[in-house]
């Protein structure tokens, strides 16, 4: 099967090159059948890469340890679902995963894009194929997943225990899908520039792709946070690690794009900026891959260092130079249709929002690269960790949260004083009441205080938006409130889906603010010993060590330490944390320990707080156990926020929305000037 895999990769290279050259040549302008040939080549590319993927999966499932990749990431006793996920667990497999998924997205784009955009599709096919070709070249010449060993080991190394978690089965592919799918909007942007069709058409064509890509990134990032929280055992979910930062960068610029593209749709403004953002997002996705795979910056997430980093750096530079040069040559065609009318308008709020989102992206990028810069300038190695990022980004994040509440309150085009008064009273009231309540209970830490107060303000904004829309429907159509709410959302999916996304973001911020109040302690307990820890909410937990039991489970020996937990004296149950020593069994009866023992934390989640216990180890081989106990306030709101954000995103991208109608209305509305409606209208 590896021969078939190798053959498929070489075929993919040839087919991809054919699609790239044919698409970019533009000869299909004169001979339309060549345009069809590009589309068919894109489908064929997907087909051969599916064959290559199946070949690798065959090797994984049949334990063909002569394949170096299979021997490196699996073992005979690895549970089946981890054998499947081993496909993307290592560098080489993940490159193949990237290539096959990208070719799949490219095929879908060719298939699903409406006929009116057909003139762009050969260029789109050329761009997507060129990216696929790059990944195939990396595999063929630097990281071949089908490389064979000179011998066949009796068993493989197995999968790192920390990757043996359901989060790691889902998190990497989600993140990859986010990175990968950015290529489609990028391809449309480049196609629009090449075809000199830079009207709003390409934006319409990519709308769902951009939301989907943004959603995949959001899901991937949130799942990564969840995995770090439940698996790594340090009690947190975000460490500002370079690889984490790399995933955040395109998400931030895509968030900026999703906002600014509305200005282009409604007002015909920001065309250059939107092109810049979409190209930048694609480059940042490649940059993230470069960071992860080059080993240029120290990270706990990095793949094994190899020379693929040079390939990615070269590709990054080439793609950046070519894309921005192309954009420069079309600069004049991207003139805005109309100019901004007022600094106090929805458009201006979107611009501030873009400034902050891109500013945060820049500060994260700057902080991530600053160690390299410092070493180049001063010759001194430094570290840039959470204290730096928190200091720089927390104020920016709070400003962004404030804008999340302000934006929807300001009218399009130009807001009047009356509009501002009418809109801001309730949200400001919510914010001030929250602030007063927190100060009354003794919260003095400025950042969390501001964060919670702003969360109150944004809640007021969102609540007001939903309430006004719902009650208007209730009055106009005599619908019951639940029906009115449902129809309000379903008939304005984009707008209210966006608000639901904002609600999800609000939950994230609340959870982040709550993290400032975490409490923790270490304790050594013999069976029967008790220790207590006070929650920031005022109650006290007591933990009584029950004992440590050892047993075998699947491919590991488990040492499970348990504590009886009580809240203010009332029992709440038993919590356990484990040490897992994994082993491989190359031949029956012959066991070998594989990897260091890993830790499984015990978590008890409520809406208020998480109890988080970690069995650190035993003292002198006895049941006397060392624990770390942590109380993490409001953590569950990160996961709820992620869920709400995804629901909002799905609503916004669900087919049948009013995007086309909005565009038509926008264009119709602004082709004429109506002086009497420029102020004081709208919400």
């Amino acid at each position: 099967m590896t021969l078939l895999g190798q053959f498929s990769l070489w075929t993919a290279l040839l087919v991809g090159l054919w699609a790239t050259l044919l698409g970019f040549s533009g000869r299909w302008h004169a001979r339309p059948e060549l345009g069809v040939a590009v589309t068919r080549a894109v489908y064929a590319l997907f087909g051969v890469l599916v064959v290559a993927s199946l070949s690798l999966w065959h090797g994984l499932i049949t334990h063909d340890f002569n394949i170096e990749y299979v021997a490196s990431y699996t073992s005979r006793n690895l549970p089946g679902y981890y054998i499947v996920s081993a496909f993307w667990a290592g560098q080489k497999g993940s490159l193949l995963f990237w290539a096959v998924m990208l070719s799949g997205f490219a095929a879908l784009a060719q298939w699903l894009t409406p006929a009116k955009y057909r003139s762009l599709m050969p260029y789109v096919g050329a761009v997507t194929s060129s990216v696929v070709v790059f990944f195939v070249i990396v595999m063929l010449f630097a990281a071949n997943p089908f490389a064979r060993l000179p011998f066949t080991p009796p068993d493989g190394n197995g999968l790192n225990p920390q990757l043996q978690n359901i989060g790691m089965v889902i998190h990497p592919p989600m993140l990859y899908l986010g990175y990968i799918s950015i290529t489609i909007p990028f391809a449309f942007a480049v196609a629009a520039l090449l075809a000199r069709r830079v009207d709003a058409g390409w934006i319409q064509a990519i709308r769902k792709w951009t939301i989907m890509s943004w959603l995949f990134l959001a899901i991937g990032i949130t799942l990564g946070m969840w995995w770090a929280y439940v698996e790594l055992g340090w009690g947190g979910y975000w460490a500002w690690d370079p690889v984490e930062n790399a995933s955040l960068l395109p998400w931030l610029t895509m968030s900026a794009f999703l906002h600014s593209v509305m200005i282009q749709e409604k007002r015909g403004m920001l065309k250059r900026w939107n092109m810049t953002l979409i190209i930048g997002s694609f480059l940042l996705s490649i940059f993230g891959t470069f960071i992860t795979r080059s080993g240029i910056i120290a990270s706990v997430h990095s793949f094994t260092q190899s020379n693929v980093g040079y390939f990615f750096l070269a590709f990054l530079l080439a793609a950046g130079i070519l894309s921005y040069t192309l954009l420069y040559t079309r600069w004049d065609r991207l003139e805005a249709d109309v100019q901004l009318e007022s600094m106090v308008s929805r458009e201006a709020a979107f611009l501030y929002n873009n400034l902050l989102l891109v500013g945060i992206a820049f500060s994260v990028l700057w902080g991530t690269l600053f160690p390299i810069l410092s070493e180049a300038v001063r010759g001194t190695k430094i570290s840039v960790g959470p204290p730096f990022f928190n200091k720089v980004n927390v104020p920016l994040g709070l400003m962004l949260l404030a804008l999340t509440g302000i934006g929807p309150l300001i009218a399009w085009r130009k807001a009047s004083i009356r509009n501002l008064q009418r809109q801001f009273v309730v949200p400001l009231g919510f914010g001030l009441v929250t602030l007063a309540a927190l100060m009354a209970v003794g919260v003095r830490d400025p950042y969390p205080l501001i964060g919670f107060a702003l969360a109150g303000f944004v809640t007021g904004t969102l609540g007001q938006e939903f309430w006004r829309g719902t009650s208007a429907r209730h009055v106009m159509y005599q619908e019951s409130y639940p029906v009115a709410l449902g129809r309000l959302v379903s008939r304005n999916r984009r707008r209210y889906g966006g608000y639901i996304v904002h609600l999800g973001a609000l939950f994230y911020f609340v959870a982040f603010a709550g993290y400032a109040f975490r409490t923790e302690m270490e304790a050594t307990l013999r069976p029967g010993d008790t220790v207590s820890l006070k929650s920031p909410f005022g109650h006290t937990y007591t933990f009584t060590h029950v004992g440590v039991s050892q047993f075998e489970q699947l491919n590991r020996v488990v040492s499970q330490a348990s504590v009886q937990v009580a809240k203010d004296g009332a029992p709440v149950g038993v919590m356990s944390s484990e040490k897992r020593q994994h082993f491989s069994e190359p031949t029956p009866g012959l066991r070998q320990k594989s990897f260091e023992p890993s830790t499984e934390v015990g978590i008890r989640t409520t809406l208020q707080e998480d109890l988080y216990i970690v069995f650190a180890g035993s003292v002198e081989g006895t049941e006397e156990a060392v624990y770390r106990f942590t109380i993490n306030p409001l953590v569950v709101w990160v996961w709820i926020g992620g869920l709400v954000l995804v629901v909002g995103g799905l609503i916004a991208m669900w087919p049948g929305g009013a995007a086309g109608g909005t565009l038509r209305r926008g264009q119709a509305g602004y082709e004429v000037r109506l002086a009497g409606t420029t102020s004081g209208v709208g919400t």
Binding site: V338, G367, P527, S532, V546, G547, K579, L674
Partner: protein, 199 residues
């Protein structure tokens, strides 16, 4: 060797009085003295690296805050506190923790301890660079960039909004709130559409 069941029983029996007497005063976070018998594990090596007993000093907030500012030298990129309380297999962070404690025992305060670490391990041991010299750029460049771009944006926005206002004032329209050739009904419809669009 005592069976697991016996130990669980001991644990539960030991837990009962502890639960009955639970509730040390709010705010107290103290491990209590042992009440049960500690048995031996069947496979101690499977339970991870042998651990020393935690002491009150391991929970000393002052020490922990110092360790949050210092990076573990094992290459994990985590701070000493997080590393020593996370994977529990690192042999570097417990040793570094002991170094911090020893320096504290010498009467050094947080800044002196951190300075001692920088002298020994280099500037890389700091979780965030000191805001001095070239490092200042690390802290201020993002803010300056945002302010600069924001200022340019503001100037352009003001200029363009003034231009738009001037152009609008000079536009030869049929009158305030009208479009040439449009009937009253059409104007009302247009206003309604625009209002809907704006909202």
């Amino acid at each position: 060797m005592t069976s697991r069941r016996v130990f669980l029983l001991h644990g539960l029996v030991g837990a009962l009085p502890a639960l009955l007497h639970a509730g040390p005063a709010a705010g107290q976070q103290q491990p209590l003295a042992g009440q049960g018998e500690a048995g031996e594990l069947r496979d101690p090596a499977a339970a991870g690296r042998p651990r020393d007993r935690a002491t009150q000093r391991d929970n000393d907030e002052y020490i922990n805050q110092i360790e949050h500012r210092l990076q573990c030298t094992c290459g994990c990129t985590l701070d000493i506190y997080t590393c020593r309380t996370t994977d529990f297999t690192c042999t570097f962070s417990p040793a570094l923790h002991k170094e911090v404690l020893a320096l504290r025992d010498e009467g050094k305060d947080a800044d002196a301890i951190i300075a001692a670490f920088v002298a020994k391990y280099g500037e890389k041991v700091l979780m965030a660079p000191k805001p001095e010299g070239f490092n200042i750029a690390g802290y201020v460049v993002p803010g300056i960039a945002i302010l600069l771009v924001g200022s340019v944006m503001a100037v352009l926005m003001v200029r363009r909004s003034r231009l738009t206002a001037a152009t609008a004032a000079a536009a030869p329209l049929g009158g305030e709130g009208t479009v040439p050739g449009a009937s009253a009904d059409e104007m009302e419809r247009l206003r309604r559409e625009l209002r809907e669009f704006d909202e």
